[in-house]
């Protein structure tokens, strides 16, 4: 059964239409990441699920109940804020038990549930501290503990890791993932960091300017981005885009590039002769000597140890490729590599939409 359903949900702030209309179904136990650039409406959407923002139109359903007019506390959700929003005057234990105390649960039960959450999050030694005496990572864990203690039907996370430094972020990412595997609670996770979204979520929902660009499993989105926006957003370093014109002849389909080079494409692609297209090449896949040849003069290199980023000119642009760290390249040389034909992404330039074999 679907745990959360958004049915044509809209949001306007005054005259500004922030979310023109979103439909979304989230399955029970699923971990969904809402991902998109800053300002695209992720938090607004999440806060509408929480009930912290009123919907301007449409319906929000949680666990089979329409909650448009249900107050936040009665929606059976818990939220982890970017700033953690811990109560500074309360101890860790008091922070975690606040909801249960307000709900007048028996003392013994409260103690037990707090203890269990503390065990799960390794907070047992910190229960009597105040938030001010904790490190960033510890505060983050308390914020999650506060959510877990309530055993809600849905977890909502709003960029919970963005205030942590890079190392801690990776560690906490793993913790969140393990936690979800343990408790299996439906989770909606907002982030602008696509790597975070890819690594954590069962399903990604890519948002842009208040609408859904594409949704699917992380690998779906990586392998078959529906449009230029998703293609550019998912993957790091970002996909290379080259402008080209399609040329058909004697059973072949070619992409004619600006610098005179051409790339052989799958002739089954739904592309007409002379059509303006965009070619998308993932940097980490330009490493195949057997595929379509992609070569050009090296402009800059960035060794990173295991791998080296090579910037070379191709198709009238500077193209990024990732090669093995052992591979010797020097600025000024000609970089020779290739890419498998089935790995070349093709988009219609006018609409930005993906073209697939027909």
């Amino acid at each position: 059964m679907a745990s959360v359903i958004l049915n044509g949900v809209r949001k306007t702030f005054g005259a500004v239409n922030v979310i023109p209309g979103i439909d979304l179904e989230i399955e029970s136990g699923e971990f969904v990441a809402l991902v998109g650039p800053s300002g695209c409406g992720k938090s607004t959407l999440l806060r509408m699920i929480a009930g912290l923002e009123e919907v301007s139109g449409g319906e929000v359903w949680i666990e089979g109940r329409k909650v448009n007019d249900v107050s936040p506390k009665d929606r059976n959700i818990a939220m982890v804020f970017q700033s953690y929003a811990l109560y500074p005057q309360m101890t860790v234990a008091e922070n975690m038990s606040f909801n249960l105390r307000l709900a007048k649960k028996p003392k013994a039960e409260i103690r037990e549930r707090v203890a269990e959450a503390a065990r799960m999050l390794d907070l047992e030694a910190l229960l009597d501290r105040k938030p001010g005496q904790l490190s960033g990572g510890q505060r983050q864990r308390v914020a999650m503990g506060r959510a877990i203690v309530r055993s809600p039907k849905v977890f909502l996370f709003d960029e919970p890791l963005s205030n942590l430094d890079a190392k801690l972020r990776v560690a906490m990412r793993a913790e969140i993932k393990q936690l979800h595997q343990k408790v299996k609670t439906t989770s909606v996770y907002v982030t602008h960091d696509q790597i975070e979204a890819m690594t954590l979520a069962d399903r990604l929902v890519v948002l842009n300017k208040g609408h859904v660009e594409q949704q699917g499993s992380p690998l779906d989105l990586y392998n078959r981005p529906a449009n230029l926006f998703v293609a550019g957003f998912i993957g790091s370093p970002a996909m290379n885009f080259l402008e080209a014109r399609a040329a058909r002849g004697d059973g072949h389909l070619r992409a004619q590039l600006a610098d005179g080079n051409a790339l052989e494409l799958d002739p089954a692609l739904g592309v007409a002769d002379g059509q303006e297209i965009i070619i998308g090449l993932r940097p980490e896949l330009i490493n195949n000597d057997a595929g379509e040849a992609v070569c050009g003069e090296v402009i800059m290199i960035e060794p990173m140890g295991a791998q080296t980023l090579v910037y070379f000119s191709y198709g009238g642009k500077t193209v990024t490729a990732i090669v093995d760290g052992e591979h010797r390249v020097a600025v000024g040389e000609t970089f020779r590599s290739g890419i498998e034909r089935r790995r070349i992404h093709v988009f219609d330039r006018a609409s930005g939409m993906r073209r697939d074999p027909e």
Binding site: A50, L52, S71, P72, K73, I77, A78, M79, F81, Q82, S83, A85, L86, Y87, P88, Q89, F98, N99, L102, A103, R146
Partner: protein, 276 residues
């Protein structure tokens, strides 16, 4: 000694001289209170308190008036504190958190009222209180004092509320706090230092207040210490030791509480007064 060493030594000397000047009058109040009659008008003044004369502080309480004055001051000050906080907390909270119709107007009103001299309102308040039987009552003074503490305290508290992230309140709402509950259980405890500082400021406005008490209170049993003590000025029948001893007893609680809360009060006052 280098030039900069000299400067920093000189600075230290000056700062201690300034501190000495700041407390000398209080010291002198104490010395005078404990000077014996014989020494009071001697050729060379007594410069240190004599501990044998400390009994003066017990003596002044033997007379009923001083006790009554201090008790009255306390009741008036406490009443002013409670009423001020009761009105200023919701007002400051609303100002920090919500838009509402007429907000700008109320803001200007709060600013302008900080400019009204008490002396300007003595007469009209007198004429309002008179038919209501509020002259010669604690209530009248508390009501008048609060009119003057409310604007400043509102701004101090508004600034304090502004420092509390809205997310904390949202978290409280998700945790199940309804209506004013989030304010009471989560937000107020966070700004407790500012609330305490506001309480002290309001308390001492009431404790120190003189004009209204002078004008509204004619009944001796209701006089606060400010009016009682001022009555000694220019009067010669009471021994100066007793007068100064009453002065010490009246000043001490004010100074002590201010010192306890000084960190919060000064920043609160600076931020809260006359700032839009």
């Amino acid at each position: 000694m280098t030039r900069s060493e000299f400067i920093s030594h000189a600075a230290l000397v000056i700062i201690f001289v300034l501190a000495g000047l700041a407390i000398f009058p209080f010291y002198w109040m104490f010395v005078t209170a404990t000077t014996s009659d014989a020494n009071m008008f001697a050729a060379s003044p007594q410069l240190v308190p004599s501990l044998s004369q400390l009994g003066i502080f017990a003596q002044i309480f033997e007379e009923g008036a001083v006790k009554t004055w201090l008790a009255n001051s306390f009741i008036i000050a406490a009443g002013t504190t409670v009423l001020t906080l009761a009105l200023a907390i919701p007002l400051g909270y609303a100002f920090a958190r919500f838009p509402f119709w007429g907000k700008a107007g109320v803001g200007i009103g709060l600013l302008v009222t900080q400019m009204l001299p008490e002396a300007v309102l003595v007469v009209p308040l007198f004429s309002i209180f008179s038919p209501l039987g509020l002259l010669n009552s604690y209530a009248g003074l508390i009501l008048a004092n609060t009119a003057f503490t409310l604007p400043v305290i509102t701004w101090i508290l508004k600034n304090a509320f502004d420092t509390v992230p809205v997310e904390i309140e949202e978290a409280a709402v998700l945790d199940g706090c309804t209506g004013i509950n989030a304010l009471v259980r989560v937000v107020l405890p966070v700004i407790m230092p500012s609330v305490a500082a506001s309480a002290v400021i309001a308390f001492f406005h009431g404790w120190n207040e003189y004009v209204f008490a002078l004008t509204f209170i004619t009944n001796d049993t209701l006089k606060p210490a400010s009016v009682g003590l001022a009555g000694f000025i220019g009067e010669i029948s009471t021994p100066i030791q007793s007068v100064m001893a009453v002065g010490v007893v009246y000043t001490l609680p004010a100074v002590a509480l201010y010192l306890l809360m000084q960190r919060f009060i000064v920043s609160g006052m600076a931020a809260g007064s006359v700032k839009g």
